[in-house]
């Protein structure tokens, strides 16, 4: 068989979601529902009967405080959304540039490859929180003219630098997983190296790396809270303020809920994209 077409083979037909397994028929669904309910009820009863529960409930699940802080935290969450939307867009482009740089051939371009390797090693090595501190407090203190000193700017920059290092590696794995014969085929048609990358290699690479890519983005969404360390009031910081004002942890639950609500659609989107791709490539031309 052609060496380049290993993807998708043997996966014809619709694959069921792994969570739901092979549930078919009302009987199985009935069993699944019953066992699910029983499981959760048992867990709930165990928790609710623990000695410390009343106190924990008051400290973490205060309904009134939840209602009070949710709008505030929700408003602050818009900042998180802004942070990672901007960061994600920049990362997608920047990381691809790094990955492509790393794959450039020839001895003349060695310095660029070296730079790309150093970059990925460095920024995957340093904890994100440190990069945020160092850039957030260090870079503006230099007082270079023309360089903004807004903590938001430096927070986003730090996230872009750190996550691009990861995403560049993901891209690189994707690019390397595309068989060299694909490049040969494209070049033999007269496409330039850049065109080959753009129309043949990168589209295939990106499709293959969407799941790990989105996984990194879920991590990024959560890490947007780290920007709070250098001042901006995003959801986590807002809930922290509310917690400090009330000495009650319920606002944290509001923040947790918001983050979950955001990640679930992204996870579902990943699944959907994978399924769609599989359908497209192996279930005929119909789109």
């Amino acid at each position: 068989m052609s060496a380049d077409a290993e993807t998708g083979r043997g996966d014809r037909g619709d694959r069921r979601s792994r969570i739901l397994g092979d549930l078919r028929g009302t009987r199985n669904i009935g069993i699944a529902v019953t066992s699910t309910v029983v499981f959760f009820v048992v867990v709930a009863v165990v928790i609710a009967n623990s000695a410390g529960w009343p106190e924990v409930r008051k400290a973490f699940f205060d309904r009134k405080l939840f209602g009070d802080s949710f709008p505030e935290v929700g408003h602050a969450f818009l900042l998180n959304i802004r942070i990672f939307c901007i960061a994600e867009a920049l990362i997608l482009v920047f990381a691809l540039a790094i990955a492509v740089l790393r794959g450039l051939p020839g001895p003349v371009l060695f310095p660029f490859r070296l730079l790309a390797v150093l970059y990925t090693d460095l920024f995957r090595g340093i904890p994100t929180i440190l990069v945020i501190y160092i850039l957030g407090f260090g870079a503006p203190a230099l007082q270079l003219s023309g360089v903004p000193n807004s903590p938001l700017f430096w927070g986003v920059t730090a996230l872009v630098l750190v996550y691009s290092a990861y995403v560049a590696e993901v891209y690189r794995a994707g690019i390397e997983s595309v068989h060299p014969s694909q490049e040969a085929a494209a070049r033999s048609l007269g496409l330039s190296r850049a065109q080959t990358l753009r129309y043949v290699i990168v589209p295939q690479a990106v499709r293959r790396v969407i799941p790990p890519l989105l996984n990194d983005f879920i991590g990024l969404q959560k890490d947007s809270a780290l920007v709070a360390l250098i001042g901006p009031i995003e959801a986590f910081r807002q809930s922290q303020i509310d917690v400090a004002a009330t000495f009650n942890y319920t606002p944290y639950m509001a923040t947790a809920l918001l983050f979950i609500l955001l990640t679930i659609p992204l996870a579902r989107l990943t699944d959907w994209l994978i399924a769609r791709d599989r359908r497209r490539q192996s279930a005929g031309g119909a789109r």
Binding site: M1, S2, A3, D4, A5, T7, G8, R9, S181, Q182, A184, A185, A186, R187, S188, L189, G190, L191, S192, Q195, Y199, V200, P203, Q204, R207, R280, Q281, S282, A283, G284, G285, A286
Partner: protein, 251 residues
């Protein structure tokens, strides 16, 4: 035979991979509208030879001319040369993320800058000619091997090359699919396409080739009209090779 203009000329071409010398001074001339088949044992350098002509591999010594113009000079635009030379691979190498139509129009629209409508009309006409009109919206994975290889041939043809290089285009196919691809090649030969074909299909070579070249250990050991090579091989190595082929039932 009437003298033809020279389409392709190789002069003392050498190619090594590391310390292994794969081509050891190949001289070859291919006339306009001529069909030349390369035969030879596995590893004799057939694929390497074709890849060198397409400039997918850089040669170490010697020169290659395309219609009198040297294409192995350092300052030559390799992309421009490749536009003029089509190559079809054993493994098809279709782009799996594109429909058949996009596979065919990618180079015509991005390299030749044809308007989309024109590129698609031409591609559709070609696909129709090779019985693939109903597959234009399919993705390659949904096609049989024979269909995929025909698409690969159409993809190369769409560039209207001066020369086609075919590298064992049937060896990855199930036996019952070989014929459909060979018919396409015959049709091209009848249409006057200049072709260099590396193949193990000896009967096909006999039917279609104007000339057969026997490649052995990186050299063209013997060449001549198909009839002559197959019935009266002069070199002992050629005889050995053909005997093995006959024993394997491939001639």
């Amino acid at each position: 035979m009437r003298a033809r203009a020279t389409a392709l000329k190789l002069e003392a071409v050498h190619k090594s991979f590391g310390s292994v010398e794969v081509l050891r001074g190949v001289d070859l001339e291919v006339g306009e509208h001529e069909v030349v088949c390369l035969i030879g044992a596995s590893g004799s350098g057939k694929s390497t030879l074709l890849r060198c002509v397409n400039l997918l591999e850089r040669i170490d010594a010697g020169r290659i001319f395309l219609h009198g113009e040297e294409i192995t000079r350092r300052d030559v635009d390799v992309n421009a040369v490749r536009r003029r030379v089509g190559i079809v691979f054993q493994a098809f190498n279709l782009f799996p993320h594109m429909t058949v139509l996009r596979n065919v129009t990618l180079a015509t629209s991005r390299v030749l800058h044809k308007p989309r409508a024109e590129a698609e009309a031409e591609a559709t006409a070609l696909l129709e000619r090779f019985g693939l009109a109903d597959k234009r919206a399919e993705y390659p994975d949904r096609l049989s091997g024979g269909q995929q290889q025909r698409v690969a041939i159409v993809r190369a043809l769409a560039m209207q090359p001066e020369l086609m290089l075919l590298d064992e285009v049937t060896s990855a196919l199930d036996p019952e699919l070989v014929a459909e691809v060979l018919n396409v090649i015959r049709e091209l030969a009848d249409g006057g396409m200049t072709m260099v074909i590396a193949t193990h299909e000896m009967s096909f070579a006999r039917d279609t080739a104007n000339r057969v070249c026997f490649l052995d250990a990186g050299r063209i050991l013997e060449q001549g009209p198909a009839e002559e090579i197959f019935t009266h091989p002069r070199e002992p190595r050629t005889q050995q090779f053909l005997e093995r082929i006959i024993a394997a039932g491939r001639l």
